[in-house]
Amino acid sequence: MGVIRGFFAHPTVRRGAQLIAGAIFLAAALPKIADLSAFATSVHNFRLEPVIPIVATNLLAMTIPWTELVAGLALVAGVRPRAGALVYTILLGAFTIGVIAAMARGLSFECGCFGKASAGTVGAKKLMENLAMLAVGVVASVERR
């Protein structure tokens, strides 16, 4: 156990995870920012209205990509990287819940997670992808001692 903990607490490993997480968020943010209305449609496809009012869809579509961008920059630049990692982890956690909720309701659509171009259909593969990215976020959030 000690070895595993030591590995994940290692500064290089944490920094590496932060760089990967940052790169993922930058790659996710830029295509969305370039086409906000496509992303708004993606957000709508998740059918969040039982939880989030449908009129807020556009607001989410405006704010999520830029929050991803700022968090991604913080992670890559190493400025407040822990905060960036936490934002990354929280957002990804929310996305993952969205994917699970969509799957549970049998919704099937292009998730728009990385913009329209590199779309992937919401499903088991997407879920695995998200869980893997989430794991990166957890490692990146480890406290520096």
Partner: protein, 220 residues
């Protein structure tokens, strides 16, 4: 560490302060960007309040081709209903194969299903773009019904015969108002099972699916 910014040692309230800072900065930038776009090109920006598209999405058929177990296949809901947001089409377990609900409004169809219909020749495909764009490249077998010409000549819609097959309308992608409008026009002209392929021509080309070139043959 001599740097003025926390470099990973931040904890507790300092950490959450950073989280808040990132979220607030991101949100403000996003809203600012959209506001700027709105000033320059109102059509490309997002409105403050979201208005849902009027088209519901046709669900994908299960990959194994077997009807979804579990959910009882509720009959396609009566036209005009569909207030249930969890099951807006009243589809329940349907969506298998090439059966699509016969509702009195167009539905969105996504590329994977468009390809299925195309491969099985189970749909009549309409290209809503201009004849020039159609001639430069279109989905093989698609019929060119330019939306603006149709708007001037409703008879063309009345005469149009989908031969009992569902109709898939596509155009140049994006928000694709052309195919959306044509979809509604087709329904208004009494056609059934009208599907709008929002991704349209760009998505079709991107996927590397077959294309055909040339204008509509005379007399078609």
């Amino acid at each position: 560490m001599d740097r003025w910014w926390p470099d990973g040692t931040e904890t507790g309230s300092r950490l959450w302060q950073g989280v808040l800072l990132i979220v607030a900065t991101g949100s403000l930038l996003g809203i600012a960007q959209n506001a700027l776009v709105q000033r320059g090109a109102p059509k490309e920006a997002l409105a403050w309040r979201y208005t849902p598209p009027t088209l519901d999405v046709l669900p994908d058929a299960p990959a194994d081709g077997v009807a979804n177990g579990g959910t009882a296949p509720s009959s396609p809901s009566a036209p005009g209903t569909g207030g249930d947001m969890n099951d807006p089409l009243g589809l329940g377990g349907e969506g298998t194969g090439f059966d699509i609900p016969d509702v009195a409004r167009p539905l969105q169809i996504q590329i994977t299903r468009v390809k299925q219909f195309f491969d099985a020749k189970k749909a009549t495909i309409i290209d809503a773009r201009d004849p020039e764009e159609y001639a430069a490249g279109h989905i093989p077998g698609a019929i060119n019904l330019p939306h603006d010409q149709v708007a001037l000549d409703p008879d063309r819609l009345e005469k149009f015969d989908p031969q009992g097959k569902p109709i898939i309308v596509y155009c140049g992608g994006g928000t694709c108002e052309a195919s959306m409008n044509l979809g509604f026009a087709l329904v208004a002209a009494g056609k059934h099972k009208v599907l709008v392929f929002m991704g349209g021509w760009p998505e079709w080309v991107t996927k590397g699916y077959p294309v055909a070139k040339g204008p509509t043959p005379e007399g078609a």
